[in-house]
Amino acid sequence: MIFRLAIASLFARTLTVSMTVLAIALSVALFLGVEKVRTGAKASFADTISGTDLIVGARSGSVQLLLYSVFRIGNATNNVTWESYQDIAARPDVEWIVPISLGDSHRQFRVMGTTPAFFAHYKYRQGRALAVADGVIMDDLFDTVIGADVAATLGYSVDDPIVVAHGLASFTEHKDQPFRVSGILEKTGTPVDRTVIVSLEAIEAIHVDWQSGAQIPGQSTPVDVIRQMDLTPKAVTAALVGVESPLQTFALQRAINEYRQEPLLAILPGVALQELWGIVGIAETALLAVSAMVVVTALIGMMATIFSSLNERRREMAIFRAMGARPATILGMLVLEAMVMAAVGALFGLLFLYLGLIIAQPILDSAFGLWLPIDAPTLREFWVILAVICAGAIVSLVPALRAYRMSVADGMMVKT
């Protein structure tokens, strides 16, 4: 009976009620959306590198090593000498090792020197391997494989010549060496998308005519001569290591960290990612707090509309009372109305969220490499909706209690 009255009363005020419901729906959609982005970002962050047991670089900090070796952010404090690299590679517990050499750039993208083994061992999103979308993995000294973002931003296709610049944001470019694009990688959503990959020897080849950061004037070694040269690198920036058995990981890590000849650092990528997320994760909490405040604001907005409706409904309440409705019934009806509004708002919010996800999913994936899975609502969403309904009931208690106290006296007096 009360329920029918409440529904009918809501329908009688369709415009104001629908605005209130819309505000709640949008705020709930925002809150759930932020939650989705947050978990999605965390997952795709943790999925940047998988399958690698240790990352080895110069001794610095684990987060820093992770940043420059995997995310290509910042620079290495030092390089790892080729001798040390060979020492580690020769250890019996090392199953595979992939060197990484950074420091050069192509336009705004980093150039990374490595071996073909990189394509076999670098994994992302729980063990997915890199795949070539077009062309082949490099097999010549001057071949490059470029990430999907590089190809898209610079409009490159297979067989285009490219020039690799020395140092980051440097104006001097290595014009002598005719690199060409041999392959374009599929989009991964990892920093690989923004990387130009060349062979380790190519990094050396670029610097043949260079001394202490400047080109030797008038000297330009022909490409054929470079091909004949010994291009074994003197150092690498970092290395990705896979161990024979997980049981040996800690022993190998300690051996590298205590390596006497050179100060080296070996990190567990998973642990370093966790540490890094601990730093950037503060922003996510702030975002969640802000969106929670938006939900609170929408609910307070609902309270305000109920308050103002009390004024319009003075007569209505008085008639209810005159017909024999107890004050508690009036209170119950108002709270019920609010709960219905909150519930409908929350459900619409969920609907908006899924509509938004369906529209935004491909856009976010291609623009930011952020993959938001569209799953059935979980228990978590259910709790959020329940919380919104309860909060709606609590908020409506304030105007409802006022109506409870005032309904007779207020409505019976002729004011207008």
Partner: protein, 180 residues
Amino acid sequence: MKHALSLIALVAAMPAFAEDTRQLDAHEHGVGALNIAIEGTTVAMEFHAPGADIVGFEYAAESDADLAAIEAAVATLAAPLDLFALPDAAACTVTTAQAELESEEDHDEDDAEHAEEAGHTEFHAAYMLTCDNPEALTTISFPYFESFPNAQEVEVQIITASGAQAFEVERDAPVLNMGR
């Protein structure tokens, strides 16, 4: 003769070169480190803790009481399942367990000067376990904190087939949930 002398001088100088790299591990009192690697049914664990956490002192033990304390601590550390309790359902048994006390002076014993300085000591332990049902390894509780009242925190790193994870376990909440 002159050549021979310079050769001797060179040889004499050699150890100085050899000692040229100096490094020292970080050492934080109250904080121990537990590393766990799981592969199939084999679980490898290694544990490091400062001497201060385990026996309450880090000087070279000379008195009988101190020596006895170290001996007792090593014996306690050699029983991993009493310190780091694994779920019964995992059915873990200890294959090998060893514990020892290591002082920094062990690295360069011939350097007599260092013995006088207040060095740090660390207890090291390594365990191999066999767990018939490794799927059940979801939590670890730490009676360790009851055995050693000076210990405040253990930094735990766990490597499983799905990657590496890090946890901090503190005296106030001595249970680790691996969340898998």
